[in-house]
Every structure is written in structure tokens, then in C-alpha cells.
């Protein structure tokens, strides 16, 4: 699934990205250490952590799409870093659970 489809599925907006960034599974987490320890590559990260360090973690684990829940805004430094790293950011009004439900077709991210 690409980031444009993820935005559509979660009723959200693609804030950063081309719409082409790919995800093959879902990982939900707000603890970045947990995300780093358990999220697999090519997953979409569903989270409320709207800051720069989320991009750093996604870069490290190889995650190309972030879904920010509860319509959390994307700070400019986070957006700039995401652009540099080729990571898409989708903002959605849904909660983490609802967003995960909307993306359930993708399945769980496994390392």
C-alpha cells in the first residue's frame, strides 16, 4: 500500500511525501524505543509522536510512512527532516486504534 492510499484509508491528509512511499505492514507505538526494538522494515508507523526524533527512528528501522493520530500537527523541523529522508507523513483525526483498524488489511509488522 502506498502513502496516498494510507491517507485515503484513514481519512487523513498526506502532509509530507509523494504518495508513493510504500508500507507492507502496520506498527502502532508511541514509545520510540519500543518502535525501534520491534517495528519491522517497510511498515507504516501509527503514532502520536509528532517530533523530529520519530523521523530518526523511522529512518533507522526503515519505515517510510508515519500516520500521526488525533490530527496532531507536523512541526516544520519534522516535515523538513521527513522530506530529506523520503518519509511520508499522514495526519488523521482517528485514534491509534481506529487508524490501525482502518489499515488492518496490511497486517502486523514483524521483524
Amino acid at each position: 500500500m502506498n502513502s496516498a492510499e494510507i491517507a485515503a484509508k484513514t481519512g487523513g491528509r498526506l502532509e509530507v511525501g509523494t504518495g508513493e512511499e510504500k508500507a507492507a505492514a502496520v506498527y502502532v507505538g508511541d514509545l520510540l524505543s519500543d518502535v525501534m526494538g520491534h517495528a519491522g522494515e517497510e511498515c507504516v508507523l501509527v503514532t502520536i509522536q509528532n517530533h523530529l526524533n520519530t523521523i530518526a527512528v523511522c529512518t533507522l528501522v526503515g519505515c517510510e510512512v508515519i500516520v500521526l493520530c488525533h490530527s496532531r500537527p507536523v512541526p516544520p523541523d519534522m516535515a523538513a527532516s521527513a522530506r530529506d529522508e523520503g518519509i511520508a507523513i499522514v495526519t488523521t483525526p482517528l485514534s491509534q486504534f481506529e487508524a490501525a483498524m482502518a489499515l488492518s488489511g496490511l497486517g502486523a509488522s514483524k521483524k
Binding site: D30, L31, L32, S33, D34, V35, M36, G37, E41, T47, Q49, H51, L52, N53, T54, A56, V57, T59, L60, V61, G62, D77
Partner: protein
């Protein structure tokens, strides 16, 4: 005249003036892009480590003429006016010139000394002193301790001398590390592709956290290291970088690569870990709420690093340092197929 002979404060040890010990590194004063080693030195060294403790000064009633003689005899360009360790002012060569010009050389120093003094505190990092030298035109600054007692004087020359000395020590260390064949008479096998790089990690600067880990990831990619190995190394590097950032007073992250292994070493300057076993357990943390709100401090840093590494070592001394080392074995290239 004898009454106003120079007062020499014999080298006294500065008291417990651990002030501003955590002042963040002022990168602007260092040009932003300074070498990691210099930044480290400027942060690690405090003004008290570099300042002169033997101070030549004059009492308030000394005349400008007496001050002039003391300046001349000691070949110095500034003289603190001080009594009982209390600093009242400074007489500079400029004040003497004005005195000669205006004809008040026999008047007391207290009438003509500079009273608007810029002073440094003994516990300030050297980076602070450097910024002062940049911002003001003064050639030297008096140094006070936490009780506002005059304990030393620092000039640009003192800073330069200390930096040059420490740099030469650091360079010797680096040379020893990067040229192991230079030691031990060549008995040990010389490793090829030896590579070392280090990054300074500043306390509480979460905006830069991940910078070192990402650089390490790029360096490993350039070296065509296996992707899953890169990920393991990057996870440990990031966790350790975050740890230095949120738990320590600052430190360095070091990457060492040779033919056999990739090593990530995180060294910090304290506060140290009292119970290492507890700290390495999943879910234990001493992080504050702010750190937790950023998604860190879940107590998974050390356990995550331990899990991804082939060998994990940790050592710590409370009040001094923590060193964590993660070693990742590089798998040997597959044997060429037989036949």
C-alpha cells in the same frame, strides 16, 4: 613603597564551586563546526583547570605609579585591585597611560581603576571563557569562586596553552589507536580497513539526537555492510546516543570498524549508574516526564542495545562515568563454492 609591595596570592585550591557545571556547550563561540575533540575539551575543562592561581595584585590605596612599576617588573598588562581575596577593580596599562597623560600618577588606584568588571567563575566550562574573549576586547579576566572570592586570572594565552597541550595528548592517543602496528614490535596482526570516528553528544539536546546514529548508518551503508547488521548497529547507536543525551552530563559515541567487528562505544562523564543490573532490565528507567513525553525513557535503551549486540559490555562508576560497548561480529564472506 614597601607597604604596597605586590600581594601574591599563593596557589590556593579552589573550594567546592561546582557552579554552572552543566552549562551547555556554546557552539557559536566555537564556530559551530569545530572538531569533536576540541568541543569535548572546551566542555570538559573548566576555567579553574586553566587559570593562573598565582595572582599579582595591588591594594586599593596603592598609587598608579606603584601599579605601573608592578606591571613593568612583572611584564603584565593588567593588575587586579584586591584585598583579602575580594576583587575591587582592575588597573590596566590604559589606566596608567591616562594617569601619565592627566598627571594623577600619585593618586590611589581605587580612584582610577575600572570598576565595571567582567569576571568568569571558576566552574564555568572553557567554552564559556572562549566566548567571553570573543565578545569582549579584554585580554584577561579575573576568576571568582562561588563565594565571589578572587581565585585566579585567565588570559587567552592560558587557554591556548592548555588546549594545545591537551590536543597533543589526544592526538597521541588517536595515533596509537589508528596505527596499532606502530606499537608492540609488529607482533600483533595488523588489521585492515581500520576505521574510527566519534561524535560528541550534548546533554539534553534531543533535537540533535540521532545525528550520530544516522551518520553511522550511512557510513556502514557505504561500506556495503549487510542491511540487517546495519539496522542492529544503528538501533544500538541510537539507543546509546539517546542515553547519553537524556541521562548523562554529555559524552561521546565512538564507532570502530575493522575486518572482524563493528564496535559502538558510548562514554559519558557521569553521573554513573549505581545498579547496572537494574538499569539493564527492560522497563526500568530514571527518565523524567519531559523525556517520556517525547517517547523515550521507557527503560528499553540498554536492554535494546544488549539484545541487538553480539557482545555487550558495560562499566560505570557513580559520580564519574558510564561506558557501554556493543560489539557486532562481521560475518566472514561465504567460502567460494567447491568444484
Amino acid at each position: 613603597m614597601a607597604e604596597y609591595s605586590p600581594v601574591i596570592l599563593k596557589g590556593q585550591q579552589t573550594s567546592d564551586d561546582e557552579i554552572l557545571a552543566k552549562t551547555p556547550l556554546d557552539e557559536k563561540a566555537l564556530g559551530g563546526d569545530s572538531s569533536v575533540i576540541i568541543m569535548e575539551l572546551l566542555q570538559r575543562f573548566k576555567v579553574r583547570d586553566v587559570m593562573k592561581r598565582q595572582i599579582i595584585c595591588v591594594p586599593r590605596k596603592a598609587t598608579l605609579r606603584e601599579a605601573q612599576h608592578i606591571l613593568k617588573e612583572n611584564r603584565i598588562s593588567g593588575l587586579p585591585v584586591s584585598e583579602n581575596d575580594r576583587l575591587y577593580g582592575i588597573i590596566s596599562v590604559n589606566d596608567i597611560i591616562n594617569g601619565l597623560d592627566g598627571g594623577w600618577m600619585d593618586e590611589p588606584c581605587e580612584a582610577h581603576m575600572s570598576k565595571n568588571l567582567v569576571v568568569l567563575e571558576a566552574g564555568m566550562p572553557l567554552s564559556f571563557a572562549l566566548r567571553y574573549f570573543n565578545n569582549y576586547t579584554y585580554g584577561r579576566f579575573p576568576v571568582l569562586d562561588a563565594n565571589r572570592k578572587l581565585v585566579g586570572i585567565i588570559s587567552q594565552r592560558d587557554v591556548m596553552r592548555a588546549l594545545l597541550y591537551e590536543l597533543s595528548v589526544e592526538i597521541r592517543k588517536l595515533e596509537r589507536k589508528t596505527r596499532p602496528e606502530a606499537e608492540g614490535g609488529g607482533a600483533s596482526e595488523t588489521k585492515k580497513n581500520f576505521f574510527r570516528k566519534e561524535w560528541a553528544v550534548v546533554h539534553n539536546d534531543l533535537s540533535r539526537a540521532g545525528h550520530a546514529a544516522n551518520s553511522i548508518k550511512s557510513l556502514l551503508r557505504e561500506r556495503k555492510i549487510d542491511r540487517s547488521l546495519i539496522r542492529r548497529v544503528a538501533v544500538a547507536a541510537y539507543e546509546l546516543e539517546i542515553n547519553i543525551c537524556i541521562h548523562s552530563h554529555g559524552g561521546v559515541l565512538v564507532l570502530l570498524i575493522d575486518d572482524d567487528a563493528i564496535r559502538i562505544t558510548a562514554k559519558d562523564r557521569g553521573p554513573g549508574i549505581a545498579d547496572i543490573e537494574w538499569a539493564c532490565r527492560d522497563g526500568t528507567s530514571t527518565a523524567n516526564d519531559w523525556i517520556r513525553s517525547m517517547g523515550f525513557g521507557a527503560g528499553m535503551g540498554l536492554s535494546n542495545s544488549k539484545r541487538v549486540a553480539d557482545t555487550f559490555n558495560i562499566a560505570s562508576e557513580v559520580g564519574k562515568y558510564t561506558i557501554v560497548e556493543c560489539i557486532f561480529d562481521i560475518p566472514k564472506a561465504a567460502e567460494p563454492p567447491q568444484g
